[in-house]
């Protein structure tokens, strides 16, 4: 994806070359130390330690005056467990399209100090012509517990300089970490360090090249935490070309030009044949007289049902004539078809570029193309997003990992007869909690002959992201597969031991998701919710809301907690107290936990009951209006989460009157 995007952007910047004399690249003299110092270090109580992590990125003019990029990655690790040996004994170096590995070396240094250097023939290559990706791969030989492995390679990479992210932190501790960025005298890079990593320093002592560097004695490992965005939280650097003193060009990697290029590709540079194909496609399939929102949905549903999405690179997968003829498109093809269809239908649509917030947080302060990884479509008239080809995404419900973060919005602006593309960085709001619901309505009847057996009229309703994992697929699968899903929903939320008498499903069509709630209704017989103690019965009412996520363990939290999406749960459970019995602990039902900030309730769980005659109505409602839970809010969040888990354990004791 990124490679594809880069291709779209690269067009404008080729002429930064300077007719300077070619210099010798850094890697010419690069090698490992014959007898590395790390090999004498001792590490206790660890299964792996990074002992060297040196990266050099060099931009350099070749003899023809073209800019080239050389990338050196040099790593060494100490391995001290079978698991780590098995994880690290094979190394796969991915090589992107237009790149090649020109030097590679690998060795093992054993506990006894014996050095085993890998033969050249032990480096294997695998290629994939579909993705244009290839791999250089090898296995370390002679590894045993306590061995060091070391390898480095030099890759001549495609010369992209508009934004590169380099992650330097691992899940384990590292020593001797360094990154050096080199460029010709006329090219100035801007760099930014993230997540507490120190800034890079410009080296004024290297006269023939520009040099920035970061040298660290050690970097502590970042432990993976549940519901934390591990990859985004790792310490990393972003570097981008900012200035070319030759020609005095500034802001080279800003989003202005990127927006224009995207605009040209998706909106402007469309052939007449393509326009005609789109026009025929609209005529054949859509009714332009419909209201705009329905029309957007029609187009989206049609494309997602009839076009095959592929990651295989081919011009045919981006050309609208062949896409409409063959029904195969790649991501750019999908976006282009959406853009052209809505342009002809005169429905404003913006293209949004952002990043998966689990991988990297889009930085609104530092414009660099490495933040432009994922696409969304935005319809400003409805303030709604969708994704160009994901089946699970429909208007109003873009992939949640691409929301609650910033993005670059690119739109067409027309002044008179002149149209151009304008980009703006804005926040992509998360979809509000009210739109993602998982509601239960259960009417419970005790079997008069055996109070430990229940009949439940059960109604479950899902909307939004609670439904997105299955509802969009129901129209594509067989009845048999659907029944399996429905059985699973009942098994997981009620019990494996249920007899389903009468199952009714609403809204399992191909285009229901995002518009109509998925509803499952069933009459269920079960004896799983009542325990028996002589002539008393223990009614495990809490279990009727299903097992809840819990955070009972008192763990020291270090990273911000991030939920996938905002969400709501409304449950109503109704039952009649059986004749001749009483319940004295109904008050156990009452739980009330919430957290508010500036007068706004950010999250709550509240359960209570009402009794009328013999009929008890229990409500247990829960809502989360915020995804990103800062450490200062963590305890409050935990309390609310645990309240729901506590409710799950509420048991009512039925005793004879």
């Amino acid at each position: 994806m990124q490679a594809n995007f880069t291709k779209l952007l690269i067009l404008f910047c080729v002429c930064i070359s300077l007719s300077a004399t070619a210099q010798a690249p850094f890697y010419n003299n690069y090698d490992w130390e014959e007898n590395p110092a790390y090999a004498k270090t001792k590490f206790a109580d660890k299964d792996i330690v990074g002992v060297k992590n040196h990266v050099v990125s060099e931009f350099i003019y070749n003899e023809a005056g073209d800019l080239e990029k050389y990338f050196v990655e040099h790593k060494a690790f100490w391995l001290n467990s079978d698991e780590k040996i098995e994880e690290y004994n094979k190394v796969y170096i991915p090589i992107g399209a237009d790149s090649e590995i020109i030097v590679h070396k690998a060795r093992v240094i054993n506990k006894s100090g014996k050095i085993l250097v890998l033969n050249d023939t032990e480096f294997l290559t695998a290629t994939d012509d579909e993705t244009k990706q290839s791999y250089k791969y090898f296995a370390f030989e002679g590894l045993e517990m306590g061995s060091f492995i070391e390898y480095f390679y030099v890759e001549k990479q495609s010369t992209s300089y508009n934004g590169t992210r380099l992650s330097l932190q691992h899940s384990f501790d590292q020593h001797d970490v360094a990154f050096t960025l080199l460029s010709p005298r006329n090219l100035f890079f801007a760099t930014k360090s993230y997540n507490g990593l120190p800034a890079m320093v410009f080296d004024t002592l290297t006269p023939e090249k520009n040099s920035w560097s970061l040298k660290l004695k050690s970097i502590k490992g970042l432990e993976e935490e549940e519901q934390a965005t591990f990859n985004a939280n790792k310490q990393f650097i972003v570097y981008k070309l900012d200035r070319n003193t030759y020609g005095n060009r500034r802001d080279i990697s800003s989003y202005g030009q990127a927006s224009q290029n995207l605009y040209n590709f998706f909106f402007k540079n469309i052939s007449e044949a393509e326009k005609q194909a789109v026009s025929a496609f609209i005529k054949e399939n859509f009714d332009p007289a419909k209201d705009k929102k329905s029309l957007i949905r029609d187009v989206e549903n049609h494309l997602k049902a009839n076009l095959f999405f592929t990651e295989v690179k081919s011009d045919a997968h981006e050309n609208l004539v062949s896409i409409l003829a063959n029904k195969i498109a790649d991501q750019s093809g999908f976006i282009k078809l959406f853009a052209q269809t809505f342009k002809q239908l005169q429905i404003p649509m913006e293209i949004v570029l952002t990043s998966d917030r689990n991988e990297i947080k889009f930085d609104p302060e530092f414009e660099a193309y490495n933040f432009l990884n994922e696409y969304l479509l935005y319809f400003p008239e409805f303030k709604s997003f969708t994704h160009p080809h994901e089946l699970e995404a429909r208007l109003g419900f873009p992939p949640y990992e691409l929301t609650d973060t910033y993005g670059l919005f690119v739109k067409e602006v027309t002044v008179g007869s002149f149209a151009s593309g304008v980009g703006e960085v804005r926040y992509i709001d998360a979809v509000v909690a009210e739109k993602t619901t998982d509601n239960i309505d259960a009417k419970i009847v005790f079997n008069p002959d055996d109070l430990s057996s229940l009949t439940i009229d059960y109604r479950r309703e899902f909307t939004g992201y609670s439904a997105s994992v299955f509802q969009p697929y129901l129209g594509l699968i067989s009845q048999e597969q659907k029944d399996e899903i429905y059985q699973n929903i009942l098994d997981n939320s009620l019990s494996q031991n249920i007899e389903v008498e009468n199952l009714k499903i609403e809204n399992e069509g191909l285009n229901d998701f995002g518009v109509h709630p998925f509803v499952l209704q069933a009459k269920v017989n079960t004896d799983d919710f009542v325990d028996k103690a002589g002539n008393r019965y223990i009614f495990k009412i809490g279990q009727l809301i299903g097992l809840q996520v819990e955070m009972y363990e008192d763990k020291l939290r270090e990273q911000t907690l991030e939920a996938d999406f905002q969400r709501t749960y409304f449950r109503t459970l109704t039952f009649d107290i059986p004749e001749g019995f009483q319940i004295q602990n109904l008050d156990d039902i009452n739980i009330d936990e919430s957290f508010s900030e500036n007068g706004k309730t950010l999250m709550y769980f509240k359960s209570s009951y009402a009794i009328e005659g013999n009929t008890v109505t229990v409500t247990a409602n829960e809502q989360y209006n915020q995804n990103i839970i800062d450490l200062s809010l963590y305890e409050s969040y935990r309390k609310v989460i645990n309240s729901a888990a506590d409710f799950n354990k509420v048991k009512l004791v039925l005793t004879p009157k």
Binding site: T127, E141, G142, N306, F308, G534, A645
Partner: protein
């Protein structure tokens, strides 16, 4: 490029179809098959294969053409567009053609695939020769038919493709024609073809023998969680070239086990002919130091190999069959099953111990050597050692296996044991008893502050222990480890909290593994006035058997096992026991379940024991298991009542 064939050009279409050997389905077929297979997304209309086996220049030349026609029945059609055909050194893909046929008002529109893209397949094996050709079928929609044709060369006559008559989708027609020179003898081994409409016929034409296999309307097969390998239930026929005549002489290929063994032996006879690496000799010497009994020496070498040779698989051409030299394996410290067998074999030689290279199929392969004396019958290599009439099966690709316990995935399988260049033995690997694979959780607890509070100890042996060891390897931080044990010992509810765990003999090969721990469970008890209700069924083991109600295939398990949950509840001072549930037990040939309560003074001893004496359960047995489960779960609901004394 789209080829539009107007109705008036129907003859041309007809010609094309004849040329490719088949008529395409009509529109009416779409409705017919939709009605016939309402639960299918795809029907294979035709599965055709044409194999020509001839003797050329003293070698068997095998060429095959295949043609698959699929009809797409519903809205999922588009999601079947991506196709991938794999090939390797033994199985060469010479040509691929693919197209989509759609019935339009104007006639049948044929759209051919133009882009075929190659890929190296990086699969489980680190180094192999697996490649694939990939393409996308254009214009797929309900009612579309796709046609994929290939031309292939089979480079090893021992690897004729099995003919599967059924698949995950219905197969309307299968027609396989094998044309062989008269001097070539073929056998057809049938598996699970009972109840299938299949015909095998044979005729002689122009000095060739033509075998035809035909079947019709085979319904789709289900592939479920823990289903056996498709070889165990999907109908198939394996063609085997048993022998051929070359210059008047019979060349035996796969007629009986000795033919197979001779070929196998030829692949191993030239390994380990060099002098062993002195360092390897040193390793063996150090392992044997202080050991006098052969069995102890064998054990030491076996455990060393398990620990020191890491598993990396190699399947490049014949490299998938030939072990590498022990010296190489020793230098690299990694290898696959063959390499592990090779180095152990050499270490045995150094130690002057008799060890035999042994071929074996894992449990995914159901064929015995006598019914199918072909390399298709196995996929694995180990070393065997026999002493006092007892054979030990040494599979060093895993870790933590004590000498007496073979890897679980070869239990019950035939092993082909090399004796010398001419002789072999077939020995059956035993299946470990349930009692060899124990999980016992003992706990003693009482009530404090309305919580259950106590101490426990878990004990694991056999495969249960090995499985835990593997899981424990990845619990690399104290946080992960305590979380692991919390989940493992969790009882009552998820407010179970565990502390002070202590591991005893962790990662030991021959000793049992113990973990002791302290625990509390909150919000578990119910009370009413002076009574407290305690459900001692804190671990509801039977819940592991979550079986789909309309299960269609048998279910496989890794090993037999026995589990015990032994809980002693100390009734608090001032309370008396007013109700203890009845004991429960249930037993058949393959499962025994017991729940018992015994009061001893102020203590109630609870025991829940489960013996699983099976490696697989048929559909009928699974239904029986579901019935048993619901009975046990009823017993799980029984509660102990204690009452405060005035």
């Amino acid at each position: 490029m789209e080829t539009l064939l107007k109705k008036k050009n129907y003859k041309i279409l007809w010609f094309i179809c004849l040329w490719s050997g088949l008529a395409i389905a009509q529109n009416s077929d779409f409705e017919k098959y939709k009605a016939q297979y309402p639960d299918a997304s795809v029907v294979r209309l035709n599965n055709e294969r044409n194999v020509k086996i001839s003797l050329e220049n003293g070698r068997l030349n095998i060429l095959q053409n295949t043609r698959e026609e699929d009809l797409y029945l519903n809205a999922s059609a588009i999601h079947h567009a991506k196709k991938s055909l794999s090939y390797n050194t033994f199985f060469n893909l010479l040509e691929v053609k693919a197209s989509t046929l759609n019935s339009e008002e104007s006639g049948v529109v044929v759209t051919a695939v133009k882009d075929f893209v190659e890929k190296d397949e990086l699969n489980d094996a680190f180094y192999d020769d697996q490649k694939s050709v990939n393409f996308i079928l254009p214009n797929l929609k309900p009612g579309s038919i796709s046609v994929i044709e290939t031309k292939e060369q089979i480079n090893n006559p021992r690897f004729l493709n099995p003919i599967y008559l059924g698949d995950a989708f219905p197969v309307a027609n299968t027609r396989i024609v094998i044309e062989a020179d008269k001097d070539i003898t073929l056998q057809f081994k049938q598996f699970h073809t009972d109840g299938i409409d299949v015909k095998i016929s044979q005729e002689e034409k122009r000095g060739k023998i033509i075998y035809t296999i035909e079947s019709k309307n085979v319904s789709k097969f289900s592939f479920e969680n823990r289903s056996p390998n498709s070889r165990k239930y999907v109908p198939h026929i394996i063609p085997v070239i048993t022998q051929y005549k070359l210059k008047g002489k019979e060349v035996k290929l796969s007629g009986d086990v000795s033919n197979l063994y001779q070929w196998y032996f030829s692949l191993i006879k030239n390994i380990n002919t060099q002098t062993p690496n002195p360092d390897l000799v040193k390793v063996v010497d150090s392992l044997l130091r202080d050991k006098t009994e052969n069995i102890d020496k064998v054990r030491a070498i076996y455990y060393w190999a398990q620990e020191h040779i890491k598993y990396i698989a190699f399947e490049y051409a014949l490299g998938g069959f030939v072990p590498r030299d022990a010296n190489v394996v020793y230098e690299k410290k990694y290898g696959d099953c063959k390499d592990n067998s090779s180095i152990m074999s050499e270490m045995f030689q150094i130690a002057n111990l008799p060890g035999s290279i042994t071929w074996i199929g894992t449990r995914s392969i159901p064929y015995s050597y006598s019914e199918l004396p072909s390399p298709i019958s196995d996929n694995h290599m180990i070393l065997t050692y026999t002493e006092g009439g007892k054979t030990f099966f040494l599979d060093a690709t895993s870790r933590y296996h004590p000498l007496d316990l073979p890897t679980s995935f070869i239990q019950g399988k035939e092993a082909l044991v090399a004796v010398d260049s001419l002789h072999y033995e077939i020995v059956e690997v035993p299946v470990a008893n349930p009692e060899r694979n124990l999980w016992i959780d003992r706990a003693r607890f009482s009530i404090a502050d309305n919580r259950l509070v106590g101490k426990g100890e878990g004990t694991a042996t056999g495969y249960q222990k090995i499985e835990m060891y593997y899981q424990l390897e990845s619990q690399t931080t104290s946080q992960k480890l305590s979380n692991y044990y919390r989940q493992l010992f969790k009882k009552g509810n998820n407010k179970f909290s565990l502390s002070n765990f202590k591991e005893i003999d962790k990662f030991a090969y021959d000793k049992d593994f113990h973990v002791t721990y302290d625990f509390t469970i909150e919000d578990y008890l119910s009370s009413y006035e002076n009574e407290i209700f305690v459900n001692l069924n804190l671990t509801r083991y039977m819940q592991v058997f979550d079986i789909e109600k309309d299960r269609k295939t048998e279910m496989e398990f890794d090993y037999k096992n026995h589990n015990e949950f032994l809980y002693s509840f100390d009734v608090p001072e001032g309370y008396k026991v007013t109700f203890v549930p009845e004991n429960f037990s249930l037993e058949n040939d393959w499962l025994a379940v017991e729940i018992s309560y015994r009061q001893e003074g102020q203590t109630i001893h609870y025991a829940h024991k489960i013996t699983q004496n099976f490696l697989s359960l048929s559909v009928a047995q699974l239904q029986e298991l579901a019935r048993i489960k619901s009975k046990v779960e009823k017993a799980y609901k029984e509660v102990v009542v204690i009452e405060k004394m005035n």
